[in-house]
């Protein structure tokens, strides 16, 4: 029996994260419960090493290993890098928060790292089974984490809700994969293409059905409307550091998966494009509109993360619609800035936990400017970035997505995005207001003092957002390398399917098949 040759550099970052998780668990068992500092230290070192390994691979050529199960391209490397970075940021402020909440269980760190590794697997594969495995690793870890505040009913409820609905979504995804396998005999996303090129008509319908189910399964993870129902409850109930992780890392993974599937099914585009456009508009609008009436900060931010999923979707669709002009630069830039501002915002909100209690209503932020001026200032900065006000990275991310959407002919999406930006102002302003209002409010909640980890998280997030703005050009140079494969791929299809009109996408103006092949 021949084992496939392994390119360990490609696998190493994920392995490092998993092994660090195991090491952290061992440390947890050896140490007394009171102090998790060593675990945090070990985890940060391991994650830092993984990030370093990934950083080295920026610009490395596209390659697969493990018999085609694991893929390294620019998108995979960058998505993994952001995931690892987000995990580190979450760890920085977790310890202080968990202690204040009296749930300082060391298990948080290994579980979160395994979740991250699951996300990394999802980002770096074109194989649907591998993606499913990654998704399950991610999800099961998150189910546990969501219920970590064992004494809180809300936390338990959120874990159970997440688990039941998540299991259902996974099943749908798996069913979709089965359809794809049935239609093409392969588990690779290239199966879509094979099925489309086959002469047997019903294979196409199977592939289409499979695609639809995969979109549902992954859309659930990415919290696309109408598969978003779980988000606010779970975001509200889960411990805040877990919420931050879910909102950033798990969303990146979901979008990575979604991207792989949609890119693989690019010749089914004429079928899914309209649907996805509608989904994106719904996701943006419903996310923002429902957020308007929320009284709970975590819920409001949960809905805001739904809205942001819609924005990211717009960028993704722009790329899929015209891969010859638009790469994934904007999407990755947006993912980066979104992760930083979301983690930052949740980190600040974690201040409301004190002495085993935690208030997450809007008025629980009252008086923050006095008790923790740095936190209040950072919150203002993050919210400004979430609104998409210049000169923050949130603005430039949105600007790039606007531009992409417009350039690829998705003007409706661009306008919907603009309108949604306006709607979102209302509830974001309410959050800032709560943090800055003064004496008129009798209600003055308690608030824990800022731990040094939290302070560091805030500063790093602010620096990251500011840095992403200042160095947008170098970042774009790197991120724009991602997604080039699709262009080549799509031209291949156009060469092959020159006469199959309905299965190919709108022809690229100015580029005939021969030119594309030559280039």
């Amino acid at each position: 029996m021949n084992f496939p040759t392994m390119d360990w550099t490609i696998l190493m970052p994920t392995i490092v994260v998993i092994v660090t998780g195991i090491a952290a668990l061992i440390v947890e068992m050896l140490r007394p419960k009171q102090n998790n500092n060593l675990i945090v230290g070990v985890s940060l070192v391991g994650l830092g090493y993984a990030a370093f390994l990934l950083f080295q691979q920026i610009g490395a050529p596209t390659a697969t290993t493990a018999g085609g199960l694991v893929l390294r391209d620019q998108f995979a490397v960058l998505a993994q890098l952001i995931t690892v970075g987000v995990t580190m940021l979450c760890f920085l402020f977790s310890e202080g928060y968990l202690r204040e909440k009296r749930i300082a269980f060391g298990e948080f760190y290994p579980l979160a790292m395994w979740a991250a590794s699951g996300g990394m697997m999802m980002a770096s594969t074109n194989n649907m089974l591998m993606m499913f495995v990654g998704l399950e690793i991610l999800s099961i870890s998150l189910y546990c984490l969501a219920g970590m505040a064992r004494r809180e009913q809300r936390s338990e409820e959120s874990a159970l809700k997440y688990f039941l609905m998540g299991a259902f979504a996974s099943a749908v995804l798996l069913y979709g994969i089965a359809f794809l396998f049935g239609a093409s005999g392969t588990l690779d996303v290239s199966g879509f293409r094979e099925a489309m090129q086959s002469d047997i008509d019903h294979l196409k319908s199977f592939a289409l059905l499979g695609l639809a189910m995969m979109i549902v399964g992954l859309g659930f993870k990415a919290a696309l409307v109408p598969f978003h129902q779980w988000t606010p409850d779970v975001y509200q109930g889960a411990p805040t550091n877990v919420t931050a992780f879910m909102a950033a890392a798990s969303k990146i993974a979901a979008f990575a998966g979604l991207y792989r599937v949609l890119a693989g099914a690019v010749d089914l585009q004429s079928y899914y494009m309209d649907v996805m456009v509608v989904l994106a508009i719904l996701t943006m609008s419903i996310g923002n509109l429902v957020a308007l009436v929320q009284k709970d900060v975590k819920r409001a931010l949960g809905y805001s993360s739904i809205a942001h999923a819609g924005y990211i979707m717009v960028g993704l669709l722009a790329h899929l619609n015209s891969p010859d002009k638009i790469n994934l630069g904007s999407v990755l830039f947006y993912l980066l800035s979104y992760s930083l501002m979301t983690v930052g915002a949740f980190a600040v909100i974690s201040l409301t936990a004190k002495g085993g209690k935690e208030g997450t209503r809007t008025q629980d932020l009252n008086g923050m400017w006095k008790k923790a001026p740095l936190a209040a200032g950072s919150l203002l900065f993050f919210v400004v970035s979430l609104i998409g006000m210049p000169p923050t990275a949130g603005f430039f991310g949105k600007l790039f997505i606007f531009k992409d959407a417009w350039n690829s002919g998705l003007q409706t999406l661009a306008i919907a995005l603009a309108i949604n930006s306006v709607i979102s102002v209302f509830y974001y302003l309410q959050i800032v207001r709560a943090a800055f209002v003064d004496d008129e409010d009798v209600y003055s909640p308690q608030m824990s003092s800022m731990s040094s980890g939290l302070r560091l998280t805030c500063i790093l997030c602010i620096l990251g957002i500011g840095g992403a703005t200042l160095f947008a050009q170098p970042i774009l140079n790197v991120t724009n390398q991602a997604g080039k494969e699709l262009n080549v791929y799509k031209h291949d299809i156009e060469d092959v399917n020159d006469d199959v009109v309905d299965s190919s996408v709108t022809p690229v103006p100015g580029l005939t098949g021969s030119e594309a092949a030559g280039g």
Partner: protein, 560 residues
């Protein structure tokens, strides 16, 4: 363009930011230190802007002291700032008003640190708006100015501050986001015409001047014009988008009101003058009548509503609607006198209304009320205050000899000339109705003066009031200098902006190919106000200010 590195303008933009960073290190309870630091920083900024004024040359309409630093070059977003005749005075006005309002803010007794932080951030944002030459940079400053202002209203505002701040924020944000979309479309259009995707104003204008930009674009110019104009009209604010202003003014703290009325509103008219006129020439000509009608409605409506108010600040806020109506009215008369008048009236409105808000603020610090019904007979108690108030109030009325008069008069004259010539479909009834606005202004302002200063003392509190202190008189005195200077010798201010204003007018009115371009240094405006192209000075046939039929035919043959 070759990178020039950061220069003087950037240094001035950075000064308040540096001040803000220093401020962060002061302990929040060191109220004196915070106030003095801010005053010194804004003072230094003002002095630095004087140095900038000294270097400024009024011999050219081109941008001067242009600084260019590459940023996101592949997307056409670069840091580019420069100054010309239109922006130089607004720049000066900003530094002056910020300085004066930070002196006034010694009265602030609550949460001083964030307050002065906001003033400093606001100053940089405002200065950035008036100097940026890249549209995305402009948009950034334009939006950034919202945040400190909204926070000032939020935290230090009056009773209804939450509503006012949110309304202010939403109105301006909502209007400007579509300007952002418009910018992207403009950049894309520029790419289609020239192959370069850029947000550079000078590059855009150059393509517009040559006529290639809007060739075969159908309705696009009209749509984009409105996407830009709407953002600026809301900011001005013009009827019917003015409703945020009275709320914001009433609730804002005094320094906020001074800056809001003095500078933030000017961003709207500045935007119209800087972007809408040069970039959308045909659309401007086609839509002038609509905007003129809105401006006239604003003038009359603002005046009538102002007369009905019981709150001093609300009255001045509505008077701002009327006065800004005059500015827009002048600008969209699209002739030299009118645009000059509009541009000049911008400055004077900043001075007079700023001074009015300052005086109201000084009064409010004593009485803690702004309702007319609580006042009356103040003149006896505060004679100095009454005298200063009278002068400032009369300058706002537009009394000849004071600064309110020349700008308003020129704007009216320009509007009348355009209507008289029947250009742009303007009816003669417009200037007549606009003229009544001047009478109304006298009515409501004198009325206010009467109610506040004369009559019997009904409120016992009035009897305990003390007149202005010396430093307060000095503070108002600075405004008075400009009130008289602007009224008696407006040439100081008109001269430096004349060429830029003239160039903008010709960018709008001349046919394509005959428009001056900011990037073409060979164009210049000569002393007579005519456009000349210096390379061809030898041939007198190329002197032109008026395009003749022959010229047009020749241009057709040349394929321009």
């Amino acid at each position: 363009m070759e990178p020039t590195g950061f220069g003087m303008i950037s240094a001035i933009l950075a000064l308040p930011i540096i001040g803000a960073l220093l401020l962060l290190f002061l302990p929040p309870d060191n109220s004196k230190g915070i106030k003095w630091l801010t005053t010194i920083v804004t003072g230094v900024t003002f002095v630095a802007s004087l140095a900038l004024l000294k270097q400024f040359s009024s011999d050219t309409f081109h941008f001067q002291m242009v600084e260019f630093v590459p940023w996101m070059s592949s997307l056409g977003i670069d840091y580019k700032v420069g100054i010309d005749g239109i922006s130089i005075w607004l720049f000066m006005l900003t530094t002056l008003l910020t300085f004066l309002s930070s002196i006034f803010s010694f009265y602030v007794g609550k949460r001083e640190k964030p307050y002065f932080l906001m003033i400093l951030l606001l100053e940089t944002a405002m200065l950035g708006v008036f100097t940026s030459l890249n549209l995305i940079v402009f948009y950034s400053f334009f939006e950034v100015s919202l945040i400190p202002m909204a926070i000032m209203i939020y935290i230090w505002g009056g009773k209804n501050r939450n509503y006012a701040a949110v309304k202010f924020f939403i109105y301006t944000f909502a209007a400007s986001i579509f300007m952002l979309l418009g910018m992207i479309v403009m950049a894309k259009q520029h790419q289609q015409v020239t192959g370069v995707f850029t947000f550079d104003l000078i590059a855009w204008q150059s393509a517009v001047a040559s006529g290639s930009f809007w060739q075969n674009t159908g309705n696009l110019q009209m749509i984009l014009f409105w996407s830009f104009a709407l953002a600026f009209i809301v900011k001005c604010p013009m009827f019917p988008f003015h409703t945020w202003l009275p709320d914001a003014h009433t609730e804002a703290p005094t320094a906020g009101s001074i800056i809001l009325a003095g500078v933030l509103l000017k961003m709207g008219t500045y935007g119209l003058l800087r972007f809408c006129l040069p970039l959308f020439p045909e659309a401007v000509q086609a839509n002038t009548n609509i905007i003129m009608i809105l401006a006239v409605i604003g003038i009359v409506y603002g005046a009538i509503v102002a007369a009905m108010q019981d709150d001093v600040k609300k009255l001045v806020a509505y008077s701002s609607v009327a006065h800004m109506g005059f500015v827009v009215y002048g600008i969209f008369s699209l002739n030299h006198v009118g645009i000059m008048g509009g541009a000049y009236q911008q400055l004077n409105h900043g001075i007079s209304t700023g001074a009015l808000f300052l005086l109201i603020g000084l009064l409010y610090e004593r009485t803690h009320t702004r309702a007319f019904s609580d006042m009356g007979g103040l003149k006896k108690q505060m004679p100095n205050f009454a005298a200063l108030f009278l002068i400032v109030m009369l300058s706002s009325v537009g009394l000849p000899g004071l600064n309110g008069f020349p700008g308003e008069f020129m704007a009216m004259l320009g509007g009348f000339a355009s209507a008289f010539n029947g250009s742009f479909g303007l009816g003669l009834w417009l200037p007549f109705i606009a003229g009544t606005g001047v009478i109304f202004a006298a009515v409501y302002l004198l009325w206010m003066f009467q109610k506040v200063f004369y009559g019997p003392v009904t409120n016992p509190m009035i009897g305990r009031l003390k007149d202005l202190k010396k430093w307060e008189i000095a503070l108002v005195g600075v405004f008075l200098i400009f009130v008289f200077w602007g009224g008696l010798y407006p040439n100081t201010f008109l001269k430096p902006m004349e060429k830029s204003v003239n160039a903008v007018r010709q960018m709008t009115l001349n046919p394509a190919g005959r428009r001056p371009a900011w990037d073409d240094q060979s164009y210049e405006i000569d002393e007579a106000g005519d456009l000349v192209q210096q390379e061809r000075l030898v041939s007198p046939a190329n002197f032109y200010s008026v395009t003749t039929q022959d010229d047009l035919m020749r241009m057709d043959q040349e394929g321009l």
